[in-house]
Amino acid sequence: MTTSIHRAFSIGRIAAITGNTFTELTRLKIFYVVLLFALLLIGNSIFMAQFTFQQEFQVLKDIALGSMSILTSVLAVVATARLIPQDIEDRTIYTILAKPVARVEYLLGKLAGVLLLLAISVIIMSALFFVVLKVREQTVIHETLRQMRASPPEQMAEALGAVRASAFQANLFSGIAIIYVKASVLAALTLFVSTFATTTIFTTVVMVFVYFIGHLQSTARAYWLQTNGGGGITKFFLAFVALFFPDLQLFNLLDDIVAGTAIPPTLFAKTATLGFFYTGFYLLLAWSVFHRKEL
């Protein structure tokens, strides 16, 4: 007879919960979001064909990355907000936690399931985006070749270089990675809110406010300090907001990436590290509330 030793922390148990969460979310037909994204991209590229190629590529990249950012943020909040309340409602949570599964494993598994779903969504959306961009780039290149048939080779090469430079930039990958990091932060924060919230709607509404506060706080702080001066109470309030809410503006590199600005690798690394730090911290907060929660 073999006896298995119970470990306090098991990657296998987390992986099982992750897989289960991912399957559960997939069954909600969440990937329809990707279909919506595809329609938006194709519709946009058809409409934008009337512009010059620089304008077309700029708008295509803006729309694609902007909608990718919106959709992943919405997906992160909506998918995570329902996890714990749904498990309580279905009584699945009692079945899981009655087994030797630590609450931290349960939370980690749930968050990892959402992060996996977000990663797959981002990969599919990015692939779609790059295909559409490549197709449009090739169309423009063919048109340019046809129009410049009689031009000297140097001029032709310069024109084709301009088309390629307008279409594809390596920085787009950094932008997409930061979209994913931002969505991860939102997912972890939503998980934290859902540990003390009683309904999915409450969590979602709170997260909408957090989203706006996270984006507005740095601008509002600068404006407030500039116009009202810095009194003691004002500074305390602003410090309180800055302490508990993530500064989501720091993750908005897309506007500058699409405008053609190069993002230094150090800035990318710092931003991604900050994102993972937030994710870890909010997960820790979620655990600190959840491990004492009466179920």
């Binding site: 620089q54 950012s69 302490l243 500064d247 989501l248």
Partner: protein, 253 residues
């Protein structure tokens, strides 16, 4: 009590890591001219409450694109006042996008100015010319403001040089801005040549122009274009260059 203390300690530790890290990243953003938008009440009045909130919430470029498409429609309808207003909003929201500044300046200095000169509702030529020059000024203003936000990129210097050359017939400024564009990374190969061309039209700077054109000529076959050769020959005559130092009449194949 212990739990409250732990929460306070945790928050303090979190803040001690989070706030300096955020500050450092914000500082880098400022150094790189990111987030160069002034979100003030004047902008809110311009783009409306919804656009303002959307712009603040991380969808600045999306709002700018929507306004850009509206500006394109206004251009097709030749509503020049609306084109100007919308491009002011677009460039305010996305000041790092060269394309928006360039397109705005092109609409003003080329399209709207031509329309103003042919305005059939204005019988007085003097007023039509005045309106045309006002649109030139608006185009120049877009480019100059765009350069302030993007001093490290050559495209807007080149656009400003073209504006000085084609609209103001100001070869000195055109030469200056073509040369500035040519000195920046990513400049088109013709910028340096165009700077020398423009300089050749400037009274009193013929020698400087000749030296630059000659340097380009000496750089190789790819620079020996018909305009360059024509201008070089004109300057040789004007500056009385000795025959043995002149370029040959026909280029050996």
């Amino acid at each position: 009590m212990m739990r409250i203390l732990l929460v306070i300690l945790g928050a303090a530790l979190f803040g001690a890591v989070k706030l300096p890290a955020e500050h450092a990243i914000s500082q880098t953003h400022r150094e790189l001219h990111f987030r160069a938008v002034d979100f003030d009440p004047a902008l809110r009045d311009q783009i409306g409450q919804l656009g303002f909130i959307a712009g603040l919430s991380g969808f600045r470029s999306l709002v700018a694109d929507v306004l850009f498409v509206q500006a394109h429609v206004a251009w097709e309808r030749t509503e020049w006042g609306r084109v100007l207003l919308l491009f002011r909003q677009v460039t305010t929201l996305q000041p790092r996008a060269i394309l928006f500044w360039d397109t705005a300046a092109w609409h003003m200095a080329w399209n709207a100015s031509a329309a103003a000169l042919r305005d059939s509702t204005q019988p007085r030529l003097a007023l039509r010319i005045k309106a045309q020059r006002e649109y030139f000024r608006l185009g120049k203003d877009f480019l100059e403001r765009g350069i302030k936000y993007n001093p490290d990129r050559p495209q807007l210097y080149e656009a400003l040089a073209r504006l000085y050359r084609d609209k103001y017939n100001d070869h000195e400024h055109a030469a200056e801005f073509f040369a500035k564009a040519a000195s920046l990374p990513g400049a088109p190969s013709y910028a340096k040549r165009f700077a020398a061309y423009e300089l050749s039209y400037c009274e009193g700077r013929e020698k400087e122009a000749y030296d630059r054109l000659h340097a380009l000529y000496a750089a190789g076959e790819s620079e020996r274009l018909p305009t360059l050769i024509r201008l070089l020959k004109q300057l040789e005559i004007k500056l009385a260059i000795p025959p043995d130092q002149r370029i040959p009449d026909s280029i050996p194949q």
